[in-house]
């Protein structure tokens, strides 16, 4: 029995995995600040004295596409969209610092500033807690401004500052909770140059047209590899019938 059949099967499996990644991206085509995942397929060859005739396929999610999504103005003062490569700093459930592009912020009942996924947004000195009452706005440099209800004529006061980090030059990777972290641990420094767009949200960067093309491609590749398996089966049958003693 030739090994061709196994090579074709790894190809089939990889195409199906790819279809799954495409489906997961498409499902998140409207998740605020989502970053599409990229699947990379690599040939695996065994180095040796023999001729290199076989390359198994191996597929892995290589990372996330970091192209910006479309900015949509919402008019809600606590929605922020980050410009350029900047990222919001949030506190992951395990207490560590992680980064996200999701900026639909709300104030929780105990005054903590959290994003749409419920992660506490961090300032320079940890999570930001806001005093109750008053109206809030977020300035372009990440300053959280509060207009005091008692003195409506006074200028808004800064009650906190979002830590905007810039991953440029540092390798970051998306973890299992969908948040980005520095590969190998560590934190990003805050970037004084980073800017955000107030009252705006960044949409997911999944492009539906691209999804359609990728989907068709993955489907046809799968079908071709299925054919390969069928061909390998025929070859094998041919070989077996030669051996038959009748």
């Amino acid at each position: 029995m030739d090994r061709l059949i196994w090579t074709a099967v790894t190809g089939m499996t990889a195409a199906m995995t790819r279809q799954r990644v495409i489906a997961s991206n498409m499902a998140n085509a409207q998740t605020t600040g989502f970053r599409a995942e990229v699947l990379q397929m690599t040939p695996l060859t065994l180095k040796g004295p023999a001729v290199e005739a076989r390359a198994m396929t191996d597929a892995a999610v290589k990372g996330a596409m970091m192209t910006p999504g479309v900015m949509v103005n919402t008019g809600r003062p606590l929605d922020v969209a980050l410009q350029g490569q900047a990222m919001l700093t949030v506190q992951a459930p395990d207490g560590s610092e992680a980064y996200t592009r999701r900026g639909d912020l709300t104030v929780s009942a105990n005054g903590l500033l959290v994003n749409g996924e419920g992660f506490a947004v961090m300032g320079e000195g940890g999570p930001i807690t806001l005093p109750p009452g008053g109206t809030y706005a977020i300035a372009e440099d990440g300053a959280v401004l509060r207009r005091d209800p008692g003195t409506p004529e006074a200028a808004p006061a800064e009650v906190g500052r979002l830590k905007l980090a810039n991953p440029a030059g540092t390798a970051i990777a998306k973890g299992l909770d969908g948040l980005f972290r520095v590969i190998g641990g560590g934190i990003l420094p805050s970037d004084a140059e980073a800017r955000l767009a107030p009252a705006t949200l960044e949409q997911s960067n999944v492009r539906p047209s691209e999804v359609l093309v990728d989907m068709v491609e993955a489907q046809r590749l799968y079908d071709m590899r299925t054919k390969l398996v069928a061909t390998a089966k025929e070859l094998d049958e041919g070989g077996a019938s030669l051996m038959r003693m009748t």
């Binding site: 495409i22 009942a109 539906p208």
Partner: protein, 262 residues
């Protein structure tokens, strides 16, 4: 796992379907007094780790990245967008609109308190100030028989001319409730919301003070639903739904092809 792509695409379909419901509800309430539009929030579902980064791929090399497969999306919550609706004049002295933050307080049957932005009040047969459902507005205001020239001040003070008197008599003062996180209030239907752990407790105070809005008599706050915005969202949702269903049929065809060919 081979057909898990089907299930991932299914989560997408379900989420789009729910989003369409939210949009339909917004559009249905386009003429509801004091209605605040909802926004659907999507969240990625958990990732499955099939291979950990740093795992040995051979004796000399390790995988640079893990294989993290997403399992799709879920509709996590709806946020009520609390922007101010347009105030329109009605000329009815017992119509009140809130210009700014805050809620009127209403006592539901059974004594439970609820809050509303809809100020289309009227006088009940017993003379109390009630909502269209007949629930008493809190603090309770009684308007005596034959009262004329009812006036409501921006701070909620209600006065009227009583029969046999030419001087206005003060009937009481409406207070407003405000919340730390108004987006966390629970909608009850009939324009009412109730407090939850997420919204924080109601802070009661006079209108026009401590960041609360002032009361505008003879006006109503229209819903803040923007038709164009909802229609654009609707088209977006519809397209996403279509592509998700295409994905399901693509995966289905792949599996059928494998079944027939092998």
């Amino acid at each position: 796992m081979p057909s898990s792509a089907l299930h991932v695409a299914r989560t997408g379909l379900e989420a789009q379907d729910t989003r369409m419901r939210v949009i339909a509800n917004n559009l249905a309430n386009i003429a509801t007094t004091g209605f605040k539009r909802d926004r659907a929030n999507f969240a990625t579902l958990a990732y499955q780790e099939n291979r950990v980064a740093g795992q040995q791929s051979s004796t000399e090399t390790a995988y640079a990245t893990g294989l993290n497969l997403g399992t799709g999306v879920s509709l996590q919550s709806t946020t009520s967008i609390t922007t101010q609706g347009t105030l329109s004049s009605t000329g009815n002295p017992l119509d009140m609109a809130l210009d700014g933050e805050g809620f009127f307080q209403v006592q539901l049957p059974g004594g439970r308190l609820a809050y509303t932005r809809a100020g289309n009040f009227s006088r009940s047969a017993e003379g109390s100030l009630v909502t269209p459902q007949g629930y008493a507005v809190q603090p309770a205001i009684t308007i005596p028989e034959g009262a004329t020239a009812i006036s409501v001040g921006p701070d909620g003070t209600i006065s009227a001319n009583l029969p046999g008197s030419s001087v206005p008599t003060e009937l009481g003062q409406l207070t407003l409730a405000s919340f730390t996180n108004p987006a966390g209030l629970q909608a009850l239907g009939d324009n009412f919301v109730s407090e939850t752990a997420a919204s924080g407790p109601a802070q009661i105070g006079a209108a026009g003070a401590d960041g609360r809005g002032s009361i505008r008599q003879g006006m109503l706050e229209a819903s803040n639903v923007n038709v164009v915005e909802e229609l654009v969202d609707m088209i977006e949702t519809q397209r996403a739904y279509e592509i998700n269903s295409k994905l399901i049929s693509a995966v289905d065809e792949m599996l059928r092809n494998a079944n027939q060919t092998l």
